[in-house]
Amino acid sequence: MTFPDRRLSPAIDQVGVEERAARFCTRSLKKETKLSGLRLAVTMLDVTTLEGADSVGKVRQMCAKAMRPLPEDPSVGPAAAVCVYPRMVKVAAKAVEGSGVKVASVATAFPSGQMRLKERLAEIRYCVNEGADEIDMVISRGQFLQGEYRAIFDEVAKCKEACGEAHLKVILETGELATYDQVRWASDISMAAGADFIKTSTGKVSPAATLPVTLVMLQAIEDFYERTGRMVGMKPAGGISNAKLALQYLVMVREVLGEKWLNNEWFRFGASSLTNDLLMQIRKQETGRYQSGDYFTKD
């Protein structure tokens, strides 16, 4: 693993990226195509709860929903993973055992990352011991913005090491990185340091995931793949609350990275409220009736 050459990270044309991202929103998916897109999106969900109020009961309930999102139709789902705080990993792991649904945990002083590296690494090891299959770490945005890029590289590499067998998703928190150039550079550093996934946001900062910022990261993944032959996954998170937007993300992934990335091994949605909208749209496609939130479970 070597620190990347910044000259290989291109400057981003802001207007160009935003225009290209906007064009993905003009595609019209209908009927069977739409339905298969919606069903695919459900399997890509990292069903998430990251609240101070999370309780054992709430996490179990969410796990049940992740395993079988639409009780009356077992062919929908299951979701890719559940994403919880470290204290809830054990509960979640037990709840989804044997279902194929993975357990992801946020770690490394989520969401701010403002803690000594030693404790942050210990947090990762704790989560892995508790049974987490995937770790969602945050980078130290403060240090990144101060220009201490090597520190970011080192912390991602050490976190990857601490993960052992577990997959590492690196949250850039693009809403705090200010420019697309910095998003691109942070993506390149994270991938070079061993990230299995790069992820836009914690969901605690606004703006969270947007189409243009995701496009910049997808292009970084594509360039990295061409240079090294290693595939890296992408996870936009936060702010993707409806099915229409989710389909636009899928269109973008398909066009930028191709079909290889179009499955839950390489692409995930981090979301809490998206699940129900996807389910409602699936029911709409199947029954012809526009649905109401009253007929879907809340958590």
Binding site: Q291, G293, Y295
Partner: protein, 282 residues
């Protein structure tokens, strides 16, 4: 000096805003002499769905507003309408009524709003009850708003017909999507301007213009609509609406195709009764 006339664009009223129909369609509307009067938005099913979403998001806030506030707002609608009554009279005349009938209709509509404003803090007392039960419980029933209500306004009675179905629905805490009369679409949208300046929160009332035949069944088939008020004597239409409404046990209230008399029972039409069993000590 002669001026060019300014033709008003009659748009839809959704979520407190005046959007054009997403379909881009319009209906040419002629006055009683057959001369062109205005282009009216020909609302689509998609507009209807957007309106339902707006009504749903306004539902909790409006249902939770105090009776006093709802009454004040209804009274405010009456005040603002009163100040613009001349405009409504001339618009109704352009749509085919005589000046006398139009004048009466506007006056009645204003009075009806005041009538329902007065009911806002009274109907729940009228329709609540304390029920005798054979156990040590305090048992009582109270009316609660049904939720999102679709109103298919009577064809006859332009302004009065609209107000007579709208006022009892909203004073009871429901949010509504109203399909205006095909004969009087202009008045409906001008009335939306009154609503928009009367402190009615955005989304509580949404008004569409368009064709009944196209939109009445989608009202009934949408799972997020809790009740439909259908002012129509057409048996086939009633049946089609009933069939679709059965899917989520939507309430369907059928009235003849004319303005409703003011009555608290029209408020009750769109209320659900909640009964509470409260244990009491021995």
């Amino acid at each position: 000096m002669s001026r060019l006339g300014i033709k008003k664009t009659y748009k839809l009223f959704i979520g407190g805003k005046f959007p054009r129909t997403e379909s881009g369609r319009f209906i040419e509307f002629n006055d009683s002499k057959g001369d062109f009067l205005a282009n009216v938005s020909w609302g689509s099913k998609k507009d209807l769905r957007n309106a339902i979403v707006a009504a749903r998001s306004a539902q909790a806030g409006w249902a939770g507003a105090s009776a006093y506030l709802k009454g004040q707002i209804l009274y405010r609608i009456a005040e603002v309408l009163d100040g613009r009554s001349e405009q409504f009279v001339s618009e109704l005349v352009a749509q085919g009524l005589t000046a006398d009938v139009a004048g009466e209709e506007v006056a009645e509509a204003i009075d009806l709003l005041v009538h329902y404003a007065g009911w806002s803090d009274k109907y729940s007392a009228l329709f609540s009850s304390v029920n005798p039960v054979a156990s040590s419980h305090f048992n009582f029933s109270v009316p609660e708003p049904t939720g999102v209500v679709g109103l298919i306004a009577p064809t006859k009675g332009g302004l009065l017909g609209l107000v007579s179905v709208l006022a009892p629905a909203i004073v009871g805490g429901n949010t509504v999507v109203l399909l205006a009369s095909e004969k009087f679409p202009l008045t409906a949208i001008s009335f939306a301007e009154v609503l928009a300046t009367s402190d009615v929160p955005g989304g509580v009332v949404n008004i569409l213009t368009g064709k009944r035949d196209e939109l009445q069944v989608p009202f009934a088939s949408h799972m997020d609509v809790n009740a439909v008020v259908l002012c129509s004597g057409d048996k086939a239409a009633k049946k089609a609406v009933d069939l679709e409404a059965a899917e989520n046990l939507k309430r369907v209230v059928n009235h003849p195709d004319r303005p409703l008399e003011g009555s608290p029972y029209h408020i009750l039409d769109l209320q659900e009764t909640k009964t509470t069993w409260h244990p009491i000590g021995v």
